[in-house]
């Protein structure tokens, strides 16, 4: 059996002296312990902690200075919070929270330190290895050549007219970015130029350019494929949050891992494991833990309210206990290999349950399941329905009404739903049924709606912020007091912009998911 691997992130200051004393005395430090010396525990982000597990660690210790003795003042507190959140996340992920510990030692506590290392090593041995087994495929994944990508999306059809740039939300916030220029550069063989790489990674893939293009060049998918081409050649983009979410999704590709994303589900919500209908939730449980400290988003409420609405219409759906992320962000950040792996696991598990219809309230899950899985050779024996479609049908049957809401509403469209002909106006139909004080569209709405500023957890910069501020100003211009969203990520990104301490009052607006509004106001007649 393989030896256990325990990563010890060791602070340079207090505990390092203690550790060094052990080394000087030639004390037997367990050989499972792999020490990484760091300047301060406060700089070890959630992403670094998770990545240790992703790369195969069986246990991780974050070791810092005792309270009050942190060399930089706040390192210990920050490390405590990061560890707490990461512990919750790895617990949900099925790794087990007890494998990650934050401990503190004074420089003179070498005996205590050794004692701890021995006992933690024993503890980890009692849990055995984690189920994170990211084996390499026997046949390495090879992305198409640039020529093939260009011809697949018929990028040559670009007429250089510039309609895309004039509509592109990034270009409109002042970023020197032009879809047609990217297309021209890639065609003329400049794909490895730094500026082209930057542009490819900063595109929002919102699809407004595709909508405007007179030659119908599918720019978002072209960008996505070039990203896959890059990733395949080890050219990486600027992953946000330290690449935490990509790491999370890659970890989920271990098929033996048993995540428990539904453990929080309130008791009054009824699910039925024999049902032929499955509700696919998405990553909300992870978002809520990750953004707990900073944004305080409660995206799990969207899932709970979706299930409550299904229950309201006497649908008791099954849930996939070991549900994994759909993989949307892996695919759109260029990791086709792990996306396909994740997709296959999800599809297999859903097929094993004999499911005939999958319902989801997340726009990205919808697009990925309904469209990207089949496109990547993952055959589905079930139908994928977006919750809005189901609600519209059920509400249309009648005998229901909506309680009046004393709020003025406006809506932020999600890019992924907005580009689907069959459901792009579903959110409008529903919002016209509910009974608010008023509903006002923003300046950019419907098909011309602009992105929330970020996509697939890559390339967040000052222009993303400018875009979010612009969007929030548009929302305020409507005079509304609630910004309705369809996608949990729109909520996360726009809330992030509202955290600006200097413009707080100017930007703050209550955000609420459409599903939750419906759940709160829908009544039997």
């Amino acid at each position: 059996m393989d030896k256990y691997k325990i990563i010890l992130f060791l602070c340079n200051w207090g505990p390092h002296a203690a550790f060094q004393a052990l080394q000087d005395n030639r004390d037997a430090i367990p050989s499972e312990i792999h020490m990484v010396r760091i300047p301060c525990t406060g700089r070890i982000s959630k992403s670094l902690l998770l990545k240790a597990f992703e790369k195969g660690a069986d246990g991780v210790i974050l070791m810092g200075c005792r309270h009050g003795s942190c060399h930089y003042g706040t390192g210990t507190e920050t490390a405590e919070k990061n560890t707490e959140d990461t512990r919750k996340i790895i617990e949900t992920l099925g790794i087990g929270k007890e494998r990650l510990k934050f401990v503190t030692f004074h420089p003179d506590e070498s005996d205590l330190l050794l004692e701890f290392l021995n006992s933690f090593t024993k503890e980890i041995a009692s849990y055995s290895h984690t189920h994170v087994t990211r084996s390499k495929d026997p046949e390495p994944w090879v992305e198409k050549s640039i020529e093939e990508i260009v011809s697949k999306h018929d990028v040559f059809a670009c007429q250089d007219c510039g309609k895309c740039t004039s509509a592109c939300p990034l270009a409109l916030t002042g970023k020197p970015f032009s879809p047609r220029a990217v297309a021209a550069a890639v065609i003329s063989g400049e794909v490895n130029d730094e500026s082209v790489k930057n542009d490819i990674w900063s595109c929002l893939t919102c699809g407004i350019c595709y909508d405007r293009c007179p030659s119908a060049v599918n720019f978002p998918e072209f960008i996505r494929d070039v990203r896959c081409y890059y990733k395949n050649r080890e050219i990486t983009g600027q992953e946000t949050h330290g690449g935490f979410f990509q790491s999370l999704m890659r970890t989920m590709t271990s098929s033996d891992l048993k995540p428990t994303p539904w453990s929080w589900l309130p008791e009054e919500i009824k699910t039925d494991s024999n049902s032929k209908v499955l509700f696919f939730g998405g990553c909300a449980p992870y978002f809520d833990i990750f953004f707990r400290e900073f944004l305080g988003v409660k995206t799990c409420n969207i899932l709970a309210d979706s299930l409550r609405l299904l229950n309201f219409f006497d649908i008791q759906p099954a849930i996939l206990e070991e549900e994994r992320c759909c993989g949307h962000d892996l695919l759109w950040s260029g990791d086709r290999e792990n996306f396909t792996r994740l997709g296959k696991i999800n599809a297999d598990r859903i097929h094993q349950m004999g499911i005939e219809e999958v319902i989801t309230s997340c726009p990205e899950c919808y697009r990925t399941l309904a469209y990207d899985y089949p496109e990547h050779g993952i055959e589905l024996n079930f139908k994928v329905t977006h919750l809005y479609e189901l609600l519209e049908n059920e509400i249309n049957k009648g005998a229901v009404q909506f309680k009046k809401i004393n709020k003025k509403l406006t809506i932020q469209d999600s890019c992924r739903l907005n580009r689907f002909e069959n459901i792009y106006d579903q959110s409008r139909k529903l919002i016209n049924r509910i009974n608010p004080e008023s509903f006002t569209e923003m300046q950019n709405n419907g098909k011309t709606s602009i992105c929330c500023g970020n996509s697939a957890w890559i390339g967040c910069d000052s222009f993303s912020k400018a875009l979010q501020v612009k969007r929030l100003n548009q929302a305020h211009d409507t005079g509304s007091d609630v910004l309705v969203t369809s996608c949990p990520k729109c909520q996360i990104h726009l809330k992030c912009a509202m955290e600006d301490p200097f413009r707080e009052n100017e930007l703050k607006i209550e955000t609420m998911d459409l599903t939750s509004i419906i759940a709160k106001t829908l009544r039997w007649e």
């Binding site: 049957k397 009648g398 005998a399 419906i518 709160k520």
Partner: protein, 198 residues
Amino acid sequence: MTNIQDNKKEVVITGFGGQGIVLAGTILGKAAALGDHRESTLVQSYGPESRGGACSAQVVISDTIIFYPYIKTPDVLVCMSQGGYDKYIGDLPDDGILIIDHDLVKAKRKVKEFYSISATRIAEELGRKMMANIIMIGFVTAVTKIISMDAAQDTVVKSVPKGTEEMNLKAFNRGSDYGLSVLKGREKKAEGRTGAVS
């Protein structure tokens, strides 16, 4: 042979001439006889009615032979016009079922079992006002269960003009879906659950 007629239900459908009241009655009766293999009779009143006045169809459905096709005290009264309501409401006993078109009839009398549907408005939404009767049949089938759903759908398809089957079936389903929703809503409300959250 027994004199008691088993499981007998008497239905009066009233409305304006031209609303398809008689066709609705015909569908109801045919579905019971041909679809559900029971006995049924239809008496239709026309004459001045067919030129726009109050008009009615009287349908009796029973498991055994029906001796008398005229209806004195209906079990179910379906009203698609105010005139029809005014004329027949007095005949309806307190334990009878009253069903009205919500937008065309104002029901003043309180009966124990009361249902309403905006059949004409839904028909307008679907594109043809004249389908209100089919929507009403769907609704009546769902809430009263006098005839079976399969028989009703089958008869609707066979009774409407060629080429309009699909449209009429859709209308029927809108009516029956609404009826089922109403029943479900009442059931939930009785359990004290009115909304999705509370």
